[in-house]
């Protein structure tokens, strides 16, 4: 095997630069020992993720939730609650979206086979694993190590369903049109490192500007997916 164990681990963890990622990918195609080593590392990672994933689905115990309500006592008047709701639906969307993104970006160590985008009749559209994630993945329920993370789903001002996403190679917003996901906004993905946080903010702002109302909640998102992201259905 022509690679040291640290490089294999870094490859699986998405820690190599693009050049070395591709180099190892290429090498693994013909080097069975390397391919087996990569598979072994992936299997361990998948095993650990699967083992701890159910914790995310558990109801948060009341004793943890109550720590916040105890702290909220000043904020229990009806007027305050109404104000809080108004703040939610209004101009603070960008900030909330940004915080959601911060909450959801963790767990991005994907290894993406295939190109995430393609050109179809002069339009940039999602392909491969990105298209699949946009089709099926729910922002409210996705694995911690998903290769593509759906950040928000929403209806845009033109009445299309749109979804903002982040991945290793590319971040952006895809909108459903003619049974495919047109890529409306793109930003460099996680691979570009230090720009990540700025990119997340930019993406959130772009999504907020496109939204007709707010983001879909978990129920709305599921319903939209089950209808094939088709607004006529």
């Amino acid at each position: 095997m022509s690679f040291d164990p640290a490089s294999v681990a870094a490859f699986v963890d998405g820690e190599l630069d693009d050049f070395n990622m591709r180099r190892i990918e290429r090498e693994a195609a013909t080097d069975a020992a390397l391919a087996a080593e990569i598979a072994r590392h992936r299997a361990l990672k998948a095993r650990l993720s699967a083992h701890y994933a159910p914790v995310l689905e558990e109801a948060v115990p009341e004793r943890l939730r109550s720590l916040f309500t105890a702290n909220d006592k000043i904020d229990t008047s009806l007027a305050d609650r109404r104000n809080a709701r108004a703040r939610f639906s209004g101009i603070h969307w960008g900030a909330i979206a940004a915080s959601l993104i911060l909450g959801l970006t963790i767990g991005l160590r994907p290894w993406m086979p295939g190109a995430p985008v393609a050109i179809d009749s002069g339009t940039l559209v999602a392909a491969g694993p990105l298209a699949e994630a946009l089709d099926t993945q729910l922002a409210s329920k996705q694995p911690g190590d998903a290769a593509v993370r759906i950040v928000l789903s929403f209806e845009d001002k033109a009445g299309r369903y749109c979804r903002s996403f982040e991945s290793r190679a590319i971040d952006g917003i895809g909108c459903r049109e003619q049974d495919r996901w047109q890529i409306e906004r793109t930003l460099p993905g996680e691979a570009s490192g230090d720009y990540r946080q700025a990119a997340s903010g930019e993406l959130a702002a772009a999504a907020a500007a496109m939204m007709k109302q707010g983001a879909l909640d978990a129920t709305g998102e599921r319903a939209a997916r089950d209808a094939g992201w088709d607004r006529r259905r």
């Binding site: 681990a9 870094a10 963890d13 072994r40 995310l56 943890l64 939730r65 702290n71 915080s99 963790i106």
Partner: protein, 162 residues
């Protein structure tokens, strides 16, 4: 307002991280509770615009290390580390690994704390090496070597087909 909302959003992940560190549901929730109380009390120290999750993970992890040290001094929960397998010799380690095949909790329990936290942050929570190093306040090289040792040990305990 925003601080608390973000913190609530974070709870499922925080519980997962704590579960990995402590390996027990009730210990994990005790740890989460302590971390949340600490965070609410010292929220002024969190800089808005920085990652709340990293800040919370750091608080949680530090509380856990403190707890482990205190427990060590009290003589309870003696830390299990790889010394066990080294002392017991290879034959015993093989037997132990055989018994553990399929038991992720058991395998994680056999990692030293400093390897377990790195495994959780990088392999489960998806942190980049550099981010994990910042969170733990150690050099990146320390993170990668702990990760490598933790990984090898887990693969050993869980069997080739990990």
């Amino acid at each position: 307002m925003r601080f608390e909302e973000e913190l609530v959003e974070l709870l499922p992940r925080l519980r997962r991280f704590a579960r990995g560190l402590t390996r027990h549901q009730s210990d994990a929730d005790d740890l989460c509770q302590a971390a949340i109380e600490r965070a609410l009390k010292s929220r002024d120290q969190w800089q808005s615009g920085t990652r709340l999750d990293s800040w919370m993970y750091r608080i949680t992890r530090n509380l856990w290390i403190d707890e482990r040290r205190a427990a060590g001094r009290r003589g309870v929960h003696a830390p299990i580390d790889d010394a066990v397998t080294q002392v017991a010799g290879e034959g015993a380690a093989e037997v132990e690994a055989g018994a553990l095949r399929g038991d992720v909790d058991g395998a994680m329990a056999r990692l030293p704390d400093e390897q377990r936290e790195v495994v959780m942050l990088i392999l489960v929570e998806g942190y980049a090496y550099r981010e994990a190093a910042e969170l733990l306040e150690v050099p990146v090289g320390t993170v990668t070597s702990r990760l490598a040792r933790g990984r090898e040990a887990l693969m050993f305990y869980l069997g080739e087909a990990a």
